[in-house]
Subunit: 211 residues, 2 copies
DNA sequence: CGTGAACTTCACCAGGCGATGAAGAAAAGA
DNA sequence: TCTTTTCTTCATCGCCTGGTGAAGTTCACG
């Protein structure tokens, strides 16, 4: 039934493109082009709004090749979505520095990370997954695991949960304002300016006096 | 298949507008049911993810009726979207009270308005319009007109734009956290708690000392 | 060379989509 | 009553969708 070679990780022996002893036929290149194109289109138009044929056309490939490599449209999406779990390096430093100045660090990391990642706002995940429920659950888990969990570990006050949640509100608000809706002057502000503006605010949410 | 002979329950709309003498056959009811169903489905699945047939089925109506009343799918969407410009009453009071305590008022109005409106987050507009670009521009304009513009009129400091933008970040963050992603404990918090937590924060963004 | 696997193309299907047009059925107006 | 307007249904169109199967085509390897 399915003859699709889905587990591509088995043959990850390519150091450089077309490096397979002289030359290789081209299969991996096509696969990669489909993958890149699909990721771009999924982000732009969402899952339902992206057709396999459109991906194939944009990648300069026959539509059947998409099914040859990924089996189904869901398989293609799964292959694209899997590659999105690869930016833990800088995040650790944010929380490693302790509670002092964590506000500035968290804002700086968020903004710089997303800024340089070629228009890849986290919130785009929301329009990314097959169903909205799925994508929302995905993003909620991510936030809880990577941000809330670690922040909560730094606090031991009784209202830690609410304080952390207020930080989440800041992060979500900045992300939506700057990257999704592009509201001025947030969208055009420099990273430094956002850090000075919101760093103190986040710090206040964590360690300041709350009503 | 079935044509349920209309249960005449609570048709509160026409008082006398199209005063077609006493009762009317039923057309307006069908129209309204299609409209309500469509609005719900558009919000849940977006424009592309909602089919005319699904709307018709959920409304208990023949698909052709949708086209009879609204012409095209875009026409249906337009009819649904147009009704979203009908909540200016409470908003005016927020800004009429002056700068003092505007933070609490704006949070309270936002939360209570959205809470009681049967799961109708503003940010849902993002997944609402035919294209994402359209919906984003729509929402951006709305925010600028209804919130930023009025807030800016209350301030005359040189950094008014940034202060207002920071308020927007709060509002967007709360909306996304509470209604879209449903992050705890924001999602389950009472309106009063959110007002006390974020009211002061918003007020600080507007009138407090900024770095 | 030949064989066979990896890759590519093409023809095609079943189904759902938005949309149309004509034929009913029920109330309004005469 | 008959006629007209309004609403409802049904059959159908053309298009595009995700997906399949079978032919090529190109290369590695014996």
């Amino acid at each position: 039934m399915k003859k699709s070679p889905l587990d591509s990780s088995a043959m990850t022996e390519h150091g450089s493109p077309s490096g397979r002893r002289g030359r290789w036929r081209s299969g991996e290149q096509s696969r990669q082009r489909i993958l890149d194109t699909a990721r771009s289109l999924f982000r732009q138009h969402g899952y339902g709004g992206t057709t396999v044929r459109a991906v194939a056309a944009a990648a300069g490939v026959d539509p059947a090749m998409v099914f040859y490599f990924f089996g189904t449209k869901q398989g293609l999406f799964a292959a694209v979505a899997d590659m999105s779990a690869d930016f833990p390096p800088a995040v650790d430093e944010v929380f490693a520095g302790g509670l002092d100045g964590v506000g500035e660090r968290i804002i700086r990391t968020l903004v710089e990370l997303v800024d340089k990642s070629d228009r890849a706002p986290l919130a785009t995940i929301t329009r990314f997954a097959p169903t909205h429920d799925q994508s929302e659950a995905l993003l909620r888990e991510f936030i809880d695991r990577e941000i809330s969990g670690r922040l909560r570990a730094l606090l031991d006050t009784p209202d830690a949960a609410m304080r952390v949640a207020m930080v989440n509100v800041q992060l979500l608000g900045i992300t939506v304002a700057r990257y999704v809706l592009r509201i001025e002057p947030i969208a055009s502000a420099s990273a430094d300016e956002l850090v000075t503006r919101f760093g103190a605010l986040v710090q206040h949410c964590l360690t300041g006096e709350l009503p």
